[in-house]
Symmetry: C4
Subunit: 193 residues, 4 copies
């Protein structure tokens, strides 16, 4: 079975997720620059969430690039990932509208955690389906970054209850870690085995 | 006529349907974990609807994979299916916001029923158009599961008026029935005649 | 220049237009079947608009199928069509929420009129660009139906001011006229010159 | 790495941006033509924003047409552009709802400015990646128009504080400047080196 529709559907869902988040930036009732100030936390939350959804699209793009066929299990592992991604706009808005209070920051981390777990499951399903694809298996060495992210999300959730800003900063750190391009995959792609 | 635009358009509509449902999860006014509790029924409704829309995308993907050309009737049978699917976010939100009360649960079942009927019509239009395509005709053996679903939806609608939770549980049962992959189609796809 | 991205972008915009209209079906505050009754006009409006947007997608699909290359003018003629289509959800909601009152019904017709004009312009731009493409020129014989629609829309707008329901019925008539498949194009497609 | 998914994802995001802007046209409470009058500024703002997003889609389409492979940096330069484009609906609504008051008009210009900067960065990343691609380098001669736009946006922002309508008019001028097709790229496309 081809992968193009899976990619197209995932692109569609991720494109909608990344775009509807901006609807949380409610148009201010006043017409002065000062009326934008209360929106700053929502905007900050939007920026981080935009980057996270962008990272997932990017990694999804890279990972599926290495895959040639997909199974029924892949379709569901992919929908499972899209499900958790679809909750990012909700926790992002909750976190922004309450100025990074403890519970929303922890909930934001919990959704990021579930996204990371769902991504790892998808990676596993893809490698199980074609174990001979060493390029992919190697790319899944990306696992290491995945597990580190999971550890940092759990730390972020735990820390956000007493110190929400520390939790938020940990999520920022994970995002920066992923923004740095994964040299291993790039190398594989430019120099396929 | 090619089928790629039909697939692309259907992917787009289904991707939007599955994603705008999350807009029903209204951001809580409070910033405590307890403020999430009133959202639980809406969340449960969202999970079931996400799975249903995912099942339809999955089956649509499989069925069109077996088809090579499409007619004008196919386009309209497909739009008819998309119409009923587009009402899932509405009944899903109604059901969730009223904690699975009788009328919303029955209405949810009625929309699921119409989606199933529309799917069967689409399958018929596709086989009528290329009767020689045995792989497809066989896949439409999926009919059996389709008719069983229709019977269960009708039972669910009838039961939901006195006992809404029983109706809801029947819809969950149908979803689980479809989550189990359809071995016959998968086999065909891996081993095409 | 290829046409695939033009098709993909148009599919995306039309898919979103057809789907966001359902957001006008506001979830009722009550949980009884009676609470659905006030939604009936909005629902009727949604059904007609869904069919119209479906007709445009269908015709767009057919027309571009006959085209091989596109110019810069095509891109803008296409965006012009998408602009007027994007206003259908707005007038559709206005018409539905005010139970088919005179001004909203006339405004609905005016938007349908502009969509039809924009479609004719797009068809002209496409034929001008490749006059040798007789299949297309012939398909644009579809013009006749287009001009008849325009006349009926104008009649509908004029009649809707004293008799809004007559205006609405005229729009329904035009939709039915388009739902009947255009045999000429279908024949061309199955039997290309 | 192929560019088709990058195009598909960008098409999806831009299609959503251009379409959700229409949600800012709130359905009037009254059913008379006069009830549309207060919407006129929002409508004017929508028209300009629709044209701008259309211009970006158009240029994006042309520019990527000339590119054959993309790097990881391209993906992020592209997401950066989509980020600023995603804020157009927000500033567009703010500007429309406050009848082109000073601060919203300046903010609108600031977002247009950031979009233009992000577009130039994307163009640079693309040429850096394949310096030998003269067709592209030449098209980026489009730079000149880009830098002129940036100058006009800055003038528009500065002027909009005392004279918001002048600022708005400058943005209209820039849009008209881009609506005129870029002959150089069109020529290249029809007559590739």
């Amino acid at each position: 079975m081809g992968k193009s529709r899976l990619e197209a559907f995932s692109d569609g869902v991720i494109a909608i997720i990344i775009t509807i988040m901006v609807l949380e930036l409610k148009v201010p009732h006043g017409a002065a620059f000062d009326d934008l100030i209360p929106l700053l936390p929502v905007f900050g939350s939007y920026v981080l969430s935009f980057i996270y959804v962008g990272i997932y699209w990017n990694n999804h793009h890279h990972m599926l690039h290495l895959v040639h066929t997909i199974s029924g299990a892949t379709l569901w592992a992919n929908l499972h990932l899209l499900f958790w991604l679809s909750l990012i706009p909700f926790v992002s808005a909750w976190m922004g509208e309450h100025q990074f209070a403890a519970a929303p920051v922890a909930a934001y981390g919990a959704i990021l955690l579930m996204c990371a777990v769902a991504y790892l499951i998808l990676a596993r399903v893809l490698t199980r389906h074609q174990p001979a694809n060493r390029a992919l298996a190697d790319a899944i060495g990306m696992d290491r970054k995945g597990w580190l992210s999971i550890a940092l999300y759990i730390a972020g959730i735990a820390l956000s209850l007493p110190l929400p800003l520390i939790g938020f900063l940990l999520y920022v750190v994970v995002a920066i870690m992923w923004l740095v391009p994964d040299r291993r995959i790039e190398r594989r792609l430019h120099d396929p085995a």
